[in-house]
Amino acid sequence: MSKKILLEHINVPGIETLEVYRSKGGYSSVEKALKTMTQDAIVEEVKKSGLRGRGGAGFPTGMKWSFLAKPEGVARYLVCNADESEPGTFKDRYLMEKIPHLLIEGMITSSYALGANTSYIYVRGEYFYIIKILEKAIDDAYKAGLLGKNILGTDYSLDLYVQAGAGAYICGEETALLESLEGKRGNPRIKPPFPAIAGLFACPTIVNNVETLAAVPSIVNNGGEWYTGIGIGRSTGTKLISASGHINKPGVYEIEMGITVEDFIYSDEYCGGIKNGKKLKAVVAGGSSVPILPADLILTTANGEKRLMSYESLADGGFASGTMLGSGGFIVMDETTSIVENLYTFARFYHHESCGQCSPCREGTAWMEKILHKIKDGHGTLADVDLLWEIQSKIEGNTICPLGDAAAWPVASAIRHFRNEFEEYVKNPSTINKVKHYHNMHNLATA
């Protein structure tokens, strides 16, 4: 069994309640941090742990924290990014639903470390039922003296609030999230200044993902050194993987980084193999934005080594033959899947979610959706495939925020690895219907 940190107590009945959560050692990091540690000492432990942002970018959390400006007399904020919207990703939702106090504990301990006295959890609006769960948990934490004035009798005070988004993928980008939290459209800001200098209400602000903050209590309790003993190389600790698509056991799995991709897909501890005994065709390993890889390259690197579930191994080979761990949204496709049709759903998604601020993204995502629509319906030409390639290359790197790159990479990788399939759609449109999702009909009618 792989090491469990975040989900260690997930199956304990009542773990969503404060009482049971505390009986399992919950909130001990708050006690330890507030009563025995300085703020800087906590930041040091998080730095030492090698914890990296779990929202997708993988930036070292301790380093991000150390950038926080601390001008005298100016409020600082910690904002939790719970806008989980990357297609294929549903781990934060799982964590908040099943064990909400773990996030709240992480928020309190981290807020203390950063010197924030007001913190917000920005939750995507579609998760209103999660907001209810969080509000109840926060209420209980206030009543237990874990939030509010003079927490646990110390001189540290913290107010924690939940903010609801309203349906916008872009608000997962930290500066767009801050704009949204200020009651505006979610248009990303030009950086610099970075939020650590001028973030929420123009004050120094740290924005961290749910899973990142949930990892902090264990690091404070056991030390950064302990955390580096889990995982592999610079991919320290555990990672939540959201597994979906054509597998026998979709769901959220906590893995120790460094297990093989093959083990993750085929072992009964995780995905349990491909559904209906079919063969693996392709995987999107880290949420919709990361490059799609065909079966051979996701299982084995170009150098012939077994591919591992870690930041470094998944990226091995660059974009020519590798991908990224991203948010850990692991979408598995069997041999019957149309790569063109799947890509169309991604292209439509990015077109829908582009905030419209930068023209390469606003116009480019619309063109890519239209061209893919044309190709998937059998009206495309070979020149359209080249045009798609051209458009994605003009979006990448030319926008204020990473949504442009996120929209370009799936298109580039699909053409890079599956160009023959695009050409097949163009040359033999009559065969297209055969590969369309016929495999679902039987399941939906009889399951």
């Binding site: 297609p87 939702r93 698509g245 919709s288 939906l444």
Partner: protein
């Protein structure tokens, strides 16, 4: 239509939400207030409703319009009593989202984006709702309906045919009164 005004209970919540932000930053309450207004005023945001929210926050109406039109959960046109939102992005598509959309459309006699003639149902297709491991899925109000089959969809439609209330993402008790 009745007068656009929150009752005392909702107004108390509005004041409580505004207190969550520093003084002078009450505009931060805009998204929560729009959600509340949409839930209480027939499931959509009319211009008078948006103007009312602007007045509660002492901001200009345009500041509300530009925000309401940006976020996909805010309806700027009336919707049916039951708003059915079907996810259709990759993982849901892989497991039959298109067939679910077609099935609902055929059953109700409408296309995505349309409302039934009796004003009962609106069918909307949406992008990833974070329910990929339990695909295909749809959302009605704040409830996720997952691992869908045609049977499950049929019983949902039957259930909602007999209801009189609007599907809602939240109510006045969703947010904690701090």
């Amino acid at each position: 239509m009745s007068e656009i005004k929150f009752d005392d209970n909702s107004l108390a919540l509005v004041q409580s939400i505004i207190k969550r932000y520093p003084e002078g930053k009450q505009k931060s309450a805009l998204l929560p207030l729009l959600h509340l207004a949409q839930a209480e005023f027939d499931g959509w945001l009319s211009v008078p409703t948006m103007d009312y929210v602007a007045s509660l926050l002492s901001i200009k109406p345009i500041e509300v319009y530009e925000v309401a039109s940006f976020y996909s959960m805010f309806n700027l046109k009336p919707v049916g009593k039951c708003l059915i939102e079907v996810c259709r992005t990759s993982s849901c598509w892989l497991r039959g989202a298109n067939e679910i959309v077609d099935h609902i459309g055929n059953k109700l006699g409408i296309k995505p984006g349309e409302t039934t003639a009796d004003g009962k149902f609106t069918l909307k297709t949406v992008e990833c709702l974070g329910s990929c491991g339990t695909a295909p899925m749809l959302q009605i109000g704040d409830k996720f309906h997952e691992d869908l089959t045609f049977d499950k969809v049929d019983s949902l439609i039957n259930e909602w045919s007999n209801k009189t209330e609007h599907s809602k993402y939240l109510d006045v008790n969703t947010f904690r009164k701090n």
